[in-house]
């Protein structure tokens, strides 16, 4: 929806970075194609070159913690790190209900493990963490329905929204 709104105001190009096994980026690619936005589609391991010529990175989130770090689909941290190395701002677009009062410092403390089946003739199982945590320092701004926030303001918004709930 963000992309559709932007499309009405400015003309831009997009690069969709996708990663197996989910390949959720295909849906994003279709949306962009339908909007008529010139789009490039790459896998994560080939994203470095694309990031060097990007002017903005936009990602979604599954949760944002009180220290400003972002829980999102695995691979998000990698994209954010590449963006930082290329001095490209990272915008996290997510609704305020995803803000959590918990603080998580790494991706291992709490996560989901996806089992992708046996490999090596049953000798091992292929597993993959569904989410990763992007530290607050890699995030330039978080876009919520309450406006743009710096990652340091997440705890403030959680507090204000909590206070509003208690009153109402």
């Amino acid at each position: 929806r963000l992309l559709a709104a932007a499309r009405d105001r400015v003309s831009f190009e997009a690069v969709v970075v996708d990663a197996p096994p989910d390949l959720a980026g295909r849906a994003t690619l279709k949306t962009l194609y339908d909007l008529g936005v010139p789009t490039t589609y790459v896998f994560l391991h080939a994203a470095a070159a694309e990031l060097a010529r990007a002017s903005l990175v936009v990602v979604g989130a599954d949760a944002v913690f009180s220290n400003g770090s972002v829980l999102a689909r695995a691979g998000t941290f990698a994209v954010a790190a590449l963006a930082r190395a290329a001095n490209v701002p990272v915008l996290v677009a997510c609704e305020a209900y995803k803000f959590h009062d918990r603080v998580q410092l790494d991706a291992v403390a709490a996560n989901e493990l996806v089992d992708l089946g046996a490999v090596g003739g049953g000798a091992a199982r292929k597993r993959h963490l569904r989410y990763d945590v992007t530290p607050a320092t890699y995030v330039s701004a978080i876009a919520t329905e309450h406006g743009l926030l710096p990652p340091s303001a997440v705890a403030v918004l959680v507090r204000e929204l909590g206070a509003a709930e208690d009153k109402g």
């Binding site: 915008l91 710096p150 204000e160």
Partner: protein, 245 residues
């Protein structure tokens, strides 16, 4: 071209100040049956807001002057009256010296230096290009702001980002003195996100161009001295959420 009453400053603070005034004036009960009473109430609130705004400079000087240490050398960029009030207050209580940037293209540095010398502060004016060279011998940087951004960064006279970047590299603190009505609902992610009005270039007599202002991100700023107290850049968004909600 900007109206003369702005005296070379930008509209950012007028914008944010007006927005905050509107919220302040209409925040509490206004449903008086009598229109005259309502009008008087609004005028009263307007006057209160204006006098608070005027008193901010003294408040900022009161909280900020302690950060000018006895025997220190401060670097000043831009011609902020808030910074001048702060340094004047510091000069009345301790000895320090100042290095002032020339401040091209408007060359405001000379005026600032004259004011500081009148206060008895030994002052040198340096080329904008020589800031990095002189920062070594300085202890802190003081700048004002045209606008304070949602993330704690600032929009200020062109050259502020240069000074701040050098200061960060040399581990010198950058202090910003700004009234709270300058807190704007703006969130630039980089230099090209500056509002249109500020992006217009100000040319020097040699034809060299630059926009009137640049954006200094929060990581280059140590502390902001405001009438709400001494704030870290992260605390600015906390205050903004409160001011605008």
């Amino acid at each position: 071209t900007r109206p003369g009453c702005l005296r070379g400053r930008t509209i950012v603070s007028v914008d944010s100040g007006s927005e905050l005034f509107l919220r302040h004036a209409t925040r509490t009960f206004l449903e008086f049956g009598d229109f005259d009473r309502c009008r008087r109430e609004l005028v009263e609130r307007g006057r209160a807001f204006a006098s608070t705004a005027r008193a901010s400079r003294a408040k900022i000087a009161a909280v900020g002057h302690a950060f000018v240490q006895d025997g220190a050398t401060v670097l000043v960029h831009g011609a902020s009256r808030v910074v001048m009030a702060l340094l004047a207050r510091a000069a009345s209580q301790k000895h320090f010296s100042a290095v002032v940037t020339e401040g091209r293209p408007d060359g405001a540095g000379a005026g600032v230096a004259a004011e500081l010398r009148a206060l008895g502060v030994p002052t040198r004016v340096v080329l904008d290009a020589a800031v990095a060279h002189h920062l070594e011998a300085c202890d802190a940087v003081f700048v004002g702001a045209e606008g304070v951004m949602e993330n704690g960064g600032i929009i200020n006279k062109i050259g502020t980002l240069t000074v701040a970047t050098c200061a960060k590299a040399m581990r010198k603190p950058v202090y910003v003195a700004a009234e709270s009505y300058k807190f704007a609902r703006l969130f630039p992610l980089n230099q090209k996100d500056l509002p249109e009005a500020l992006a217009a270039p100000a040319c020097s007599e040699t034809g060299a161009e630059a926009p009137a202002c640049d954006y200094t991100p929060p990581q280059y700023i140590k502390l902001l001295f405001t009438d709400l107290g001494v704030l870290t850049p992260a605390a600015v968004s906390d205050e903004l959420i409160r001011l605008y909600s």
